[in-house]
């Protein structure tokens, strides 16, 4: 059981960083292509440690994101719940993929999430997003191996410090 509690602070820290990166100001041109940091961090913890596996957790995270970024309440929550559900379905396969294949899986998951968001955006009467908006999953895919290695290294260090 101690294994579950270990790294709780690191989990919260990475999530907080994810939120900060989501709110960080970017130039208007690249703003739509901002990768979905919170989802990537969620996927990491889900795959590697089996935490944040409950749909309820994803829902709450999504609601927080909605409140923070001022979208319709439930928009991010919907996307994240579906993402966690799909991730759970294929978790045992994705876990043992080599990093580049894992990145592809992350790309597909995030692309699916974008399509759900698009549906909500269109229903809300906002019109089609700019084309750079579709770059976000691609950028997330390119960043995935590095994010993976970074959090892995942080976790290893923390484990060493504990022992």
């Amino acid at each position: 059981m101690s294994g579950r509690n270990q790294g709780s602070s690191l989990l919260l820290l990475t999530l907080a960083l994810g939120f900060a990166l989501t709110l960080m100001p970017l130039p208007t041109v690249v703003e739509p292509a901002r990768p979905y940091w919170v989802a990537m961090i969620l996927v990491y913890w889900n795959l590697e440690t089996g935490r944040l596996r409950f749909l309820g957790q994803a829902f709450v995270l999504g609601l927080l994101l909605d409140l923070m970024t001022g979208t319709l309440l439930g928009q991010h929550a919907l996307g994240l719940v579906i993402l966690v559900f799909l991730l759970e379905r294929f978790r045992n396969r994705i876990r043992f993929f080599p990093p580049w294949q894992q990145a592809m899986a992350v790309f597909v998951l995030l692309l699916n999430e974008r399509i759900i968001q698009l549906w909500v955006i269109l229903l809300g009467g906002h019109g089609w997003p700019v084309w750079t908006w579709w770059l976000a999953p691609v950028i997330a895919m390119l960043l995935w191996p590095w994010l993976f290695l970074l959090i892995d290294a942080l976790r290893r260090r923390q484990r060493l410090l504990r022992s």
Binding site: L23, L55, T71, L72, L73, V81, V120, I121
Partner: protein
């Protein structure tokens, strides 16, 4: 052992999970509908916003630090040049204000002659955008003035080029401003050239307003300037809003529609002015305490 507990997913497990997925999806859709249609979750949202304010401040702090660092190391000569330029601009606007002052007096006399009672006094509050990016589809910006500075929901927000929007949610030191371009936003406007009164609706695009319900024979041309009509009671009359870009008269439809381009640079504003309207009091010289109720009753431009 955590490893074995979730190594395999049984069929019953999957069914349960699917059921839970459906429940959450339904919940999300209901929430979105409530938020979009009835705005029933407004209060919860406002509460959560003021609770989340410290987080915004923490996220913003490194960027604020970077800006102050840049300000500190700026070249002395550059600053001097900038000061000269600003001084010139100030003198110019002072001269213009002198002329305006006379006009204001003249206007007041005229109004007295006409016995017009609707006269709104206003105060300005300068505000700056916080270094926080909200979702571009929320059509909101985040400013560094809040309850503490006297900002209240519904106040008009402008910049030097024109109307920006109105205050949406207020926390202690910050507030969100809903932009003109939000699909939920409607603003009573007047065509400067002809005096025609209509309503400008947000289109969901940052560079476009829509005028619908125009009569087919409307006298409107590209290039016409739209100003606020002051009818909603929230915006002072006569502020520039947008320039008509295109007028369409689709055959077979009952109304003509027009597209207009907002004059304010909604996508790249940094400095804003919040206008504190004081509702027309019963007696001159009596300052209304809040002035909120009177304004709310006649307002048409709910965000």
């Amino acid at each position: 052992m955590p490893g074995s507990a979730y190594s395999s997913v049984s069929a019953g497990d999957l069914a349960g999970r699917t059921a839970r997925l459906m429940a959450y999806v339904l919940l999300a859709v209901v929430l979105m509908t409530l938020d979009f249609r009835g705005r029933h979750v407004e209060r919860a949202r406002a509460l959560a916003f003021s609770l989340a304010e410290p987080i915004f401040l923490v996220v913003e702090s490194p960027f604020r630090f970077a800006v102050s660092l840049r300000d500190n190391v700026r070249d002395y000569q550059v600053l001097l040049a900038e000061r000269d330029q600003l001084e010139r601009a100030l003198r110019e606007s002072e001269a213009r204000q002198l002329l305006l002052g006379e006009l204001v007096e003249e206007n007041a006399e005229m109004r007295e002659l006409l016995d017009a009672s609707l006269r709104l006094d206003s105060r300005f509050l300068t505000a700056e955008l916080r270094n926080i990016d909200l979702n571009p589809y929320s059509h909101r910006v985040f400013i560094n003035r809040g309850l503490r500075h006297g900002v209240r929901p519904g106040l008009a927000v402008i910049e030097s080029a024109g109307v920006v929007g109105q205050v949406d949610q207020v926390a202690t030191r910050s507030a969100t401003v809903i932009l003109l371009s939000d699909p939920d936003h409607a603003l009573p406007v007047r065509v400067q050239r002809t005096g025609l009164r209509t309503i400008g609706y947000g289109s969901g695009r940052i560079d476009e307003l829509r005028l619908t319900d125009l009569p087919m024979n409307v006298d409107l041309e590209p290039g016409d300037v739209l100003v606020t009509s002051g009818l909603g009671g929230r915006f002072p009359a006569g502020l520039p809003v947008a320039e008509v870009a295109e007028v369409q008269r689709p055959s077979g439809e009952a109304f003509a529609v027009a597209k207009a381009r907002p004059l304010a640079r909604l996508g790249s504003i940094r400095q804003l002015l919040v206008i504190e309207l004081e509702a027309p009091g019963p007696l001159p010289g009596v300052v209304p305490v809040a002035g909120d109720d009177a304004v709310d009753e006649i307002s048409e431009d709910e965000p």
